[in-house]
Amino acid sequence: MCTSDQHKTVVSLKDVTFAYAESENGASIKNIDLDIAEGECVLLCGMSGCGKTTVTRLINGLIPHFYEGTLSGSVHVGDLDIPHIELYETAGVVGSVFQNPRSQFFTVDVTSEIAFGCENIGLPKETVLDRVDKAARELNVQKLLGRDLFELSGGEKQKVACASVSALEPKVLVLDEPSSNLDMTAIADLSDQIARWKSQGKTVVVDEHRLFYLKGLVDRVIYLRDGRIVDEMTWEELESFSDNERAALGLRVPDLTMLSRQIEQKYAQSGDRIHRNRNLRLDTSISAKGQVSLLGLSFSRDGGATKILDLQSLTLPRGKATAIIGPNGAGKTTFARCLCGIQRGARGVMWIDGTSYRRRARLKKCFQVMQDVNHQLFTESVEDEVLLSMDEPDEQQADAILDSLGLLELKDLHPLSLSGGQKQRCAIASALAARREVIIFDEPTSGLDRAHMQRVAENIQQLEEQGKTVLIITHDPEFILACCSYVAHIEGGSLAESYALDHEGYRRMLAFFMVKEKRAEINAMDQKHSPLSRPL
């Protein structure tokens, strides 16, 4: 029964229904039937809570062995009856890469981490060493061998995670939102790695919100809604959807070049932000109205020896949203920490309307919505969270703030029990209650589907309307397009450029993010030129 018409079926789910014992672990699924052929690359997509992560957990055996609940139906990978064998028996056959690079390594150094899986299943030592070597070369992480994992960037960590899985040489790879916390270069690397796995004949199952980097890799798209498979299509069909159709399905753009078309559409509409942004020309004088000026913002480590951040001067439009872009490790997070005053030893001054704010003063003027928002919610209810931020607790005002963010009905819930987007809004509410003027977001859309991304964009527009100056560190061009007016591009700890998001600005911003597309172009050129250059 294991053969379909042409290819051998590797993964087979038959009438699978699963509900978590603890519902906060994930969304339940109903009557899933799915056959995946050897060497196939399948994309699982759908809005958050559609159950796509649950499907990946069935394939790698985390359900039912790690996440408990009630399961019916059968799950097979090759001849293995996944629910009825132990997890370690699945380990050599199915490899998994997860969403958060920070929390998926078990050891503290790169070499141990890559060897970890092979060691666990007791392969001979020489084999393990060979495989570590091979996997490290495949992912181009030889230079990282022996390094401390805690010192690596998110992208590097994710590569090490891939190498560790690769070293086990599994038949099937399961990737659970692997791009969520990566910058564009790391995403392009991930895309290359998936291509490599495919070329090795491995079966790849990936569930994702960000789709563009999977172009040209995916053989089949499975669309889920409310725990059921409701549609199956090819990549071409996915691309053929109009923007409105995609919005209804809750899907992100499958190709970044589509965004340039969106820019032209925006340009054609006379009332759009793109036209207003054209008038966004900023003064360099610190006393000018309507702008926030940052002067000499810098931070260095080791007694001045290592400069992490060195911004001579940066002027931003007041009451508008500015995107902070740049590769990972460019100093964006340090910039945010310096700006909101939590980085001890940071130098520099912020000027608003002729008033200067030094580091300690900025602690009271600025607010950062952290990437892991769990760190900044302290109390036992959403309402208390807002009241805590007020100098004099005022419930009426608190309710008004919560209402404006759509949190009023949730006011008695525990902040840490909310969804990611709700937690973010809860943090925003506490910033509003403390009357902060500058609000900084650190990658607010990582791991969000389209609808939730749109919701964040709306929140940011709301903040603009209240006159707040918003800064957003992000790797998400779709999101920038949805809500930002200005861009500051940071590279190597200093300001590379800053520009208004008018027609030209949008194009410039988009070009920065097209890493994968640029790479493809270079590869194509290399191929064209190589036959000519060889004979010499």
């Binding site: 985390l62 132990e86 490899g95 020489e126 060979d130 920490r337 952290m370």
Partner: protein, 247 residues
């Protein structure tokens, strides 16, 4: 090439390599002898010898910065104790004692722990514990802790930053709140990270009932024997001292 990888795993800066068991044993001896031992008799030489061990070890793996920092901090505290203690009195004297005295007491052990944690990989650590015939009931939790202390530290730092940003570092004057605001998010985040970590480890076969391979070759070399001999001598001096004061 495999041999090169091996070296990468064992030590990222080059220098002399010690068996992880030696390191753990030395840390253990340092804790017991320096923190519970006295100052007279054989301890008069055992104490400075043991205090010097972390310095020697740090130099042996070319951690110059840590070695210099350790020496400076130690000397500064030592001189502060020698010269400030006699000339101060009352609360000020007490303050000097707390700041420098206790620092002096714990510094060698702290540096030794730093040495162990920064030069031992989880893989080596597990290999060493397997060689000591500990069951994986102890090895697995201990290696998770190895990985988890830096994480808790990171989380704690982030939470403290967030509290400063909200202006509630001191819980608005309420001691209970001060602890609660730190402990609750720290535990929630740690537990969630722990869950991810467990899932990732289990899908890579942790806990399989086979004999675990280990890429790092642990074994005692001449450098281990020298260090162990020195420690053994100090332990004898400690034993002598212990008997002399207790019986």
């Amino acid at each position: 090439m495999p041999q090169q990888i091996l070296r990468g795993a064992v030590n990222n800066k080059g220098g002399i390599t010690l068996d992880p068991r030696t390191k753990i044993f030395v840390a253990f001896i340092l804790g017991v002898v320096l923190l519970t031992g006295g100052y007279n008799g054989g301890m008069a030489w055992a104490r400075p010898t043991l205090t010097a061990i972390p310095l020697v070890l740090l130099l042996s793996v070319r951690k110059w910065g840590a070695a210099v920092g350790y020496s400076l901090a130690f000397l500064a505290s030592y001189f502060a104790m020698t010269y400030l203690m006699p000339i101060t009195s009352g609360p000020l004297n007490f303050l000097v004692m707390i700041v420098f005295g206790i620092f002096l007491q714990f510094l060698p052990c702290i540096m030794m722990f730093y040495f162990v944690f920064s030069t031992t990989t989880v893989s080596e650590f597990m290999a060493a514990m397997e060689r000591m015939h500990l069951t994986d009931k102890i090895t697995i939790p201990m290696s998770v802790m190895f990985r988890f202390f830096p994480t808790v530290n990171e989380e704690f730092g982030d939470i403290n930053d967030a509290m400063r940003m909200r202006g509630i570092s001191f819980g608005k004057g309420n001691l209970g709140a001060m602890i609660e605001y730190r402990l609750v998010p720290m535990m929630v985040c740690s537990v969630r990270i722990g869950e991810d970590l467990a899932a990732a480890a289990l899908t890579r076969g942790l806990g399989a009932p086979v004999k675990r391979t280990n890429v790092c070759s642990v074994g005692f070399h001449i450098q281990d024997l020298i260090i162990l001999a020195v420690c053994a001598a100090c332990l004898v001096a400690f034993g002598e001292w212990y008997v002399s004061v207790h019986f």
